[in-house]
């Protein structure tokens, strides 16, 4: 336990430095842009004295380090500036759009775990078999398809041709804004409201983008599970367990899988972070009103406050997830202590 406390103390020092670095990167990106932030707010027909006054009000006449200090102070107050596009504070926008992304990523994660882990385990148990090769090819294709191509293909097949899936978006028009927003997760909100039709609609809309997003993680999870299992199955304690006459299922799931579960937790946390990234493109194709779509729409409108705010939040979540993965690993695996 003491070692994990020491690791926690180390994280207390390094994580803020990393976060400060993240803020510095977004700050600098905001400064290299050719668009004048003053003109972006006032429009290019504003009188010159107004432009000059606003420039001073925004602190843009001060030296860069001073500006950065101001930026950090504002960040710590939860102020990411206003979005030009929605004219709301960026923090509010993000709070509004982020739950949809978390809902999508979580659903994708569940699908990926339920398929990826057994796939990896079976591929490892039957190493070199046909199943193993199928999994291997599947993993490679999973890594090679662009998300947007898979998303469009899925829409073409399941929506347009087969009619199995509803169209894009989070809910059908008839169900829109039917239930009060409590958690921001539409599936949970509809359940809380007890509105079963809305719930079914929300799940149906969630299934397709989540499935597409999950595809990539299935490949990654299956590959890592296979590698870990191969490693575990070659251990001497497995031979002992076999010699004792334990059933194959018990050896695989209790002895080998039990040993790799901790390492898998790390992989899962990293996968979840990766899903946030994949969500950017998936959301754009499926018109899913989450942070990814907010980011791309802001990009096309050169709404820099919104772009940098969203980037920073995604970076923050990424760092926290990495940290969590590391902590869980240290706490659960006695060998690292």
């Amino acid at each position: 336990m003491r070692a994990s406390l020491r690791a926690l103390a180390g994280a207390v020092v390094t994580v803020p430095i990393t976060l400060l670095g993240l803020a510095l990167v977004t700050f600098l990106i905001g400064r290299v842009m050719p668009i004048d932030p003053v003109l972006a707010i006032l429009g290019d027909r504003a009188p010159e004295d107004v432009v000059a006054r606003t420039r001073i009000e925004m602190g843009l006449d001060r030296p860069l380090p001073v500006q950065f200090f101001r930026y950090i102070t504002q960040l710590l107050h939860g102020n990411l500036g206003n979005s030009v596009m929605t004219s709301h504070p960026v923090t509010e926008d993000i709070a509004h759009f982020f739950p949809a992304t978390i809902e999508l990523a979580t659903a994708a994660m569940l699908i990926a775990m339920l398929i990826g882990i057994p796939l990896g385990v079976f591929a490892a148990v039957r190493q070199g078999s046909r199943l193993d090769n199928v999994v291997r090819v599947f993993c490679l294709t999973g890594q090679s398809v662009p998300v947007f191509v898979l998303a469009m293909l899925s829409l073409l097949v399941f929506y347009a041709k087969l009619g199995w899936a509803p169209g894009t978006g989070r809910a059908d028009v008839v169900f829109q804004d039917m239930v009060p927003e409590v958690t921001g997760f539409l599936t949970v909100d509809t359940l809380l409201a007890g509105d079963w039709d809305s719930f079914r609609d929300a799940v149906a809309h969630l299934a397709q983008p989540a499935g597409v997003l999950a595809w990539f993680s299935i490949a990654y999870i299956a590959r890592m599970t296979r590698a870990f299992m191969l490693d575990a199955l070659s251990g001497e304690y497995i031979i002992t367990a076999r010699a004792k006459g334990l059933s194959a299922a018990r050896i695989i799931w209790r002895h080998a899988f039990g040993n790799i579960a901790v390492r898998l937790v790390t992989v899962l946390a990293l996968t979840y972070a990766g899903l946030l990234e994949g969500a950017v493109i998936t959301e754009t194709v499926f018109s899913w009103p989450g942070l990814g779509q907010y980011l791309t729409v802001s990009l096309l409108n050169a709404d820099m406050n919104a772009v940098l705010g969203a980037t920073l939040v995604v970076g923050l979540v990424y760092v926290v997830l990495n940290l969590l993965a590391d902590m869980i690993y240290r706490m659960l695996d006695p060998r690292v202590r």
Partner: protein, 299 residues
Amino acid sequence: MNALTRDWLLSDSPASRRQAAWGRRYRLWLQFRGHGLAMAGLCVIVFVVFVSALAPLLAMQDPGAQDLAARLAPPSAAHWLGTDELGRDLYSRLVYGGRITLGMVLAVVVLVAPFGLAVGCVAGYAGGVADKVLMRVTDIFLAFPRLVLALAFVAAMKPGVESAVFAIALTAWPPYARLARAETLTFRNTDFVAAVRLTGASASRIVLRHIAPLCVSSMIVRVTLDMSSIVLTAAGLGFLGMGAQPPSPEWGAMIASARRFMLDEWWVPAIPGLAIFVVSLAFNLLGDGLRDVLDPKQS
């Protein structure tokens, strides 16, 4: 290859350094040739490189030439892969698009690999404060998801191929630095480095002549595996309108502009989509094979 060269290459007691080096390469090649999938990947890439290089000869017409009378035509003898919404020949655009994709991949790799190698070797060999600072900077860049940071960066500059290349490079170098550092750490305290140091070699000479070359083989594996993700990121940026701009025949941008016709003329977006998939898969297969040959402990 005649038997004489073969014997010279496979000799157990090479007479010169050159013979030993070529012999080693030949053995690696023999090993690599045994990987069916990796060879398939290599063939696809060689094919794409050739097609891109010879694009002006292979294309049936100018990739920008419009023929509004023949909009969204299905594949035919005149247009092997059909036409897009402006009546441009999809086959010609595909062939020219390969140039953009391969060019971007090459540019990113040329920017990233030497930089990552340098950062990693210096951090690993110097140790101490330099190591801490360099690795902290690396961690910061690793903390952003790749596509998101690239998007923010491109948005700040002007969307286009050059910005996309810089943006991808900016997000791609940290893993190389990490890898080079890890390799350097394993060599740093070996006897041969100590011996070189005893002969009075300077730190820069040790890093440049003795450590960096040893990191190269794992860098090659990493670069090849990474190329597939560079292809995907470049296409993703193009798709989101942040990479190559229309009317450029970049594959991702082609898919974005053909998205509207997906339900009826599905082949218009499907063809560039397939191209991205094939090239990316080929790089993955090649990288997998190279890893087995060059870096057996990794696989």
